[in-house]
């Protein structure tokens, strides 16, 4: 290794360290300033809470064993709607690829459903499915599945026509083209769509929990705001932010693994 190269590597490392330390500094400063402002009563700690109170609230939740129950309920709902949404999305996108006529027929309906603010369906869903977990999952499903269908289908359509022609010269059937080309060609594309749809599922689940729920992080936040316990509201939001980031990074990890394999 030449001296210049070592210097170059050092420079990259230093830059990484610099960015990381600034990022840490921002969050630490934010917490400290928040705490000081609350202590000095410059902001009303009853409305704005404070880092100390948030930690206390989370510890109380932990001690009363409620914390994990709420996290688990929300996570469970997200995973189910994410799983079902992904499967339905890929299946429908595959059917659209198989039959261009099917794609043309459902195209206007997909457009309408995509542009419709799905939250408007909330009241109907509750009447249909009852005030339970089914309604929440259905709500999230509506929000995530349409985007999944549209994006997966887009990826299927963008496969190099020359590669399709190649398989046709071997007299491949449509199923063979799908399994040998369309699907493997879209693995990384599908993973990046999953990144979007996991966030969509979180949005849907929290909306659903706002509308109808007895447990879950969304319930915690809504309940907190109704009894004016802002410590609970902010704790809920912070837990939620952690949960959704962890899920996002898990999908990111999966993506890296699959891209390395290719």
């Amino acid at each position: 290794m030449s001296k210049e190269h070592i210097l170059y590597l050092k420079k990259i490392k230093r830059n990484k360290l610099f960015i990381l330390s600034i990022q840490l500094l921002i969050i630490i400063l934010f917490i400290i300033i928040w705490q000081i402002l609350a202590d000095k009563k410059i902001i009303d700690p009853f409305i704005f809470s404070s880092p100390k109170k948030v930690v206390e609230t989370i510890i109380t939740l932990h001690n009363t064993n409620n914390l994990y129950k709420h996290i688990w309920v929300t996570l469970y709902e997200v995973l189910i709607s994410f799983g079902i949404g992904t499967v339905i999305g890929i299946v429908i996108a595959s059917l659209m690829w198989y039959s261009p006529n099917f794609a043309k027929i459902i195209d206007p309906y997909l457009t309408i459903l995509n542009s419709l603010p799905k939250i408007a369906l909330g009241p109907i869903i509750i009447i249909w499915c009852g005030a339970g977990i089914e309604s929440i999952i259905l709500m999230a499903l509506f929000i995530s599945v349409i985007v999944t269908i549209i994006n997966v289908y887009q990826g299927f359509k963008e496969v190099d026509p020359l590669k399709i022609k190649l398989l046709q010269t071997f007299k491949a059937t449509k199923t063979q083209i799908f399994l040998n080309l369309i699907l493997p060609n879209n693995y990384s594309n599908i993973i990046s769509i999953l990144k979007v749809s996991i966030s969509m599922s979180f949005i849907g689940i929290i909306m659903g929990e706002f509308l109808v729920s007895k447990e879950g992080i969304g319930y915690l936040i809504l309940y907190g705001s109704q009894v004016f316990n802002l410590d609970l509201v902010i704790s809920g939001i912070i837990i939620l932010a952690l949960m959704s980031s962890i899920m996002y990074y898990l999908v990111l990890l999966l993506e890296k693994k699959i891209i390395n394999k290719n």
């Binding site: 590669k163 022609k165 398989l167 010269t169 071997f170 007299k171 491949a172 040998n180 080309l181 060609n185």
Partner: protein
């Protein structure tokens, strides 16, 4: 011996706005172990002839006589290798699709890879190979299904000039070694001249055959030697003028 005859081939493309007569009255034949080039201005429908031969497109009229039911192997504009498959799996793709992935066929493919200098790359991925090597892999993928007649659709257009010359040599040798016949579609006069026994010149759309040249040169051992022959430039001039007149 004629192994393939095309008689008054006609192809019309239909779009909602109009119909386009792409090919009209195309008649030619192919002898055993012969390389025939089809050359013409771009967009004249050269590739359409190949698609009609293999049945990828339905012909509108005319006759394709393939008495012995010989099998076609198709080489496309670029190598179209699948980046997620290694070289061996890429070469086995056609066999896999046709459910002919037997031990013997696999050995045949491995042999071909070894014979044509790809022994060390059997388990590499396409992105690690040069353009010329990828082209050889694509040819072996075509040969794997043991076709009798090879069809080349502008096979070297994606390569730089230097690799084009050497790949032409490779492909020419492989065709001869394996005892195949071939039809090459190209817009490159020099490429057609250097590789083929006969050249069919097409007019612009609607394409008809303008003329057919038998290529006879003093040294026809390889495309690169061909290019050095004194007859080469004479042929080149004649064909170039013929195509130029048209445009």
């Amino acid at each position: 011996m004629k192994i393939l005859e095309v008689d008054k081939l006609k192809k019309i493309y239909h779009t909602p706005k109009e119909e386009i007569l792409a090919l009209n009255d195309i008649s030619f034949y192919l002898n055993e172990k012969e390389i025939v080039s089809i050359i013409g201005p771009s967009g004249c429908g050269k590739s359409t002839i190949l698609s009609c031969l293999t049945g990828l497109l339905d012909k509108s009229n005319g006759e394709i006589i393939n008495k012995n039911n010989l099998k076609f192997g198709y080489m496309l504009q670029n190598d179209a290798l699948f980046p997620w498959l290694n070289i061996l799996d890429n070469c086995l793709l056609g066999l896999k699709i046709q459910n002919k992935l037997t031990v013997e066929n696999k050995e045949y493919v491995i042999n071909l890879l070894q014979k044509y200098g790809l022994k060390d790359f059997i388990y590499s991925y396409p992105q690690n190979l040069s353009g010329g090597m990828r082209q050889r892999v694509a040819l072996i993928r075509t040969l794997a299904t043991k076709p009798d007649i090879l069809l080349f659709d502008e096979p070297f257009s994606a390569l730089d000039y230097q690799s084009r010359l050497s790949v032409s040599d490779d492909v020419f040798n492989i065709i001869h070694n394996e005892g195949k016949s071939a039809i090459i579609v190209t817009h490159d006069i020099a490429e057609a001249l250097s590789m083929s026994d006969r050249i069919i010149v097409l007019s612009k759309r609607p394409s008809t055959i303008k003329s057919i040249y038998e290529v006879k040169m003093t040294d026809m051992s390889t495309p690169i030697n061909n290019r050095k022959c004194k007859e080469f430039s004479t042929y080149y001039d004649i064909i170039w003028k013929e195509i130029d007149k048209d445009e």
